[in-house]
Symmetry: C2
Subunit: 368 residues, 2 copies
């Protein structure tokens, strides 16, 4: 916890930039001699683009992936005119070619429509760098691999070719290996050009995925527990929220919206000032038949009761009745509960929870 | 759609302030002679506190409900020092009593701990207004009704007493009527003080819930289709996102993360630049066995295929193959699909979708 941050008496998130830096070092070392880039799209997965990107830059990162042109311009303004490469994954935004060039942003082009527009708006001799995206079985962005032969690449300054995996985290799936093998067929056409296919899960799936560059995202921010993950990657985030009222409820009382939870005994409940408007999934509800999990107060689990409201969620503090008071903070994510557990209890993925944390949740950047 | 907003070629939301104003007029008329307040917490349910609050003020609203002290201060700064009442629903934030007074904010006090702290930090003769919250069966914020006798209210300037319903939208539940009857027992103790219990659903449940004041939220922004709802309440929001690539996929191809959807025939798909980082629920996925619903292109439904990614979702445009192109906008919420349908397909509630729309989604305020 962070004593300073409690002064607001509102929910807050600690982002430990030292952990992000440590994770970057460990992954960089693990993938050597491949280049370790960083995926910082969606406001660095909700953690704050400026703070995270500057931290990664200081840790030696020179290659950054964002979603689109506007995120890329934001990042370019953070970096200034240095040599860091900024890749806009979602391709060439229509009618905006000149902005990629003026802001030194590398569009990741994945269709003939984009490539034609890029050529039509640049001179033959331009040395601006582009990347090409190949779809190897994801059915998302990128040229189909069987279109490689039709690609006219003369005069283009192609810096990187990439593909993306659909099931890298699934040890039972053979799709990633199939995608990799298909992608390697591009070797003949793109001699001497950097290649990348690995997201976080692929980095720890097998060395064959590392190629010239890897693009970790979630593993920089939340750690990764794949069996090949190096040393111990750290979670960089903690999330706390305040108790705003404590009350006793009698056995038989219904708790929360929809009256979906009924107290089976006399209980003490605490009302925590954190709800779905702050990014807590509405699906993290508890009925009498299915638990939505818990928060923690001083390392003691406090089960969620009933539905999550817009700004409030109820927890069971019966066993802590004499220890908790209004104004105390409870742990939603921290040393007792990582974001993966929270996500699993809500039936979603950690990425969704991270990226939906909004501006009501104050962030504190730490170096610990 | 909004021609200006397409210039960004990014996802955007239209917020029709005229619709919000019309809804306020209709509800005000419906509830006369009750006062029509407005619930604008969580950044006016994600629509933008400043624009929405000013619109409601111009429409005659003088009573506003927000979550906590900090939202209340933000709203006070928007209004300036006028007479609008601002209620902070989450009670008295510890150690902050003087800020409620200096910013002319009414704390909605619901526990003895808060009331004691308020008294300890104010003089006996203070005329600052407070509200009291009673829990009539929700097991959330508020004094228990059986604590009324113990309440010492001498010297307090109580402006309003309130309660909140747990199942107002459920016609099968008798809890709302029970809660109302219990709340009315406060009449004897609080003679001449305004009373409010009705959220949007309760307003249209029955006239007995209207009391002195009603507190609509969602019905101001998204309409309401309860059978007693007056005239036609309007949805004030539209949400569009651009197509960034169109591609053909062969029968048997898997689409998206987890390879959870398999093309059952040769298809044309469009990749829409909108994902869970923009507020689209990850749970809005389609497998081959269960549809996640659809978006619309020029009024033609375009089914969602596979999982929602962080920034992208795939839709089926096979029947539109010759009509769509990169850069075209698709409707996520609009005349063909309201937010309730989207929420239902995602297994959540409209409130969660609204309040999680983040700053990547540009908002355009319209008066139509």
């Amino acid at each position: 916890m962070n004593d300073d941050s409690q002064n607001m008496l509102s929910a807050f998130m600690n982002v430990n930039l030292t952990s992000i830096s440590n994770n970057y070092y460990k992954i960089s070392k693990f993938v050597e001699p491949s280049i370790c880039a960083a995926t910082v799209k969606a406001n660095a997965y909700g953690l704050g683009l400026e703070e995270v990107a500057i931290t990664l830059q200081k840790s030696g990162c020179k290659y950054f992936f964002v979603s689109d042109l506007y995120e890329a311009i934001r990042l370019r303004n953070i970096f200034g005119t240095n040599d860091n490469a900024i890749y806009a994954l979602n391709g060439l935004k229509p009618t905006r070619t000149k902005e990629y060039i003026s802001h030194k942003i590398t569009p990741v082009i994945g269709s003939f429509a984009e490539l034609e527009e890029y050529r039509a708006n640049t001179s033959e001799s331009i040395d601006h760098r582009i990347a090409l995206h190949f779809d190897t079985g994801f059915s998302r962005l990128g040229f189909d691999m069987n279109e490689i032969g039709k690609l006219s690449i003369n005069g283009l300054n192609i810096d990187l070719i990439m593909s993306h995996l659909s099931t890298a985290e699934d040890p039972q799936s053979s799709l990633p290996e199939n995608q990799l093998n298909l992608f390697l067929k591009a070797n003949n056409r793109f001699v001497g050009i950097k290649k990348t296919i690995a997201n976080s899960a692929a980095i720890f799936r097998g060395k064959s995925f590392l190629l010239d560059m890897v693009r970790p995202g979630i593993s920089l921010y939340c750690g990764y527990d794949g069996k090949e993950a190096p040393g111990r990657l750290e979670s960089a985030i903690e999330l706390y929220a305040p108790i705003i009222q404590i009350k006793d409820v009698e056995a038989g009382s219904s708790i929360g919206y929809g009256a979906s939870y009924r107290a089976i005994k006399d209980m003490s409940i605490a009302l925590v000032e954190y709800g779905y408007a702050d990014g807590l999934p509405w699906s993290l509800r508890s009925t009498n038949h299915q638990s939505g999990g818990q928060f923690y107060f001083n390392n003691t689990p406090t089960p969620i009761l009933g539905r999550v409201s817009m700004d409030i969620v109820a927890i069971d503090v019966t066993v802590l009745k004499n220890d908790v008071k209004r104004g105390d903070m409870v742990e939603i994510i921290g040393s007792n509960q990582n974001i993966d557990t929270l996500a699993k209890n809500a039936g979603t993925i950690s990425y969704e929870i991270l990226t939906r944390l909004n501006s009501r949740v104050k962030k504190y950047y730490k170096y610990v």
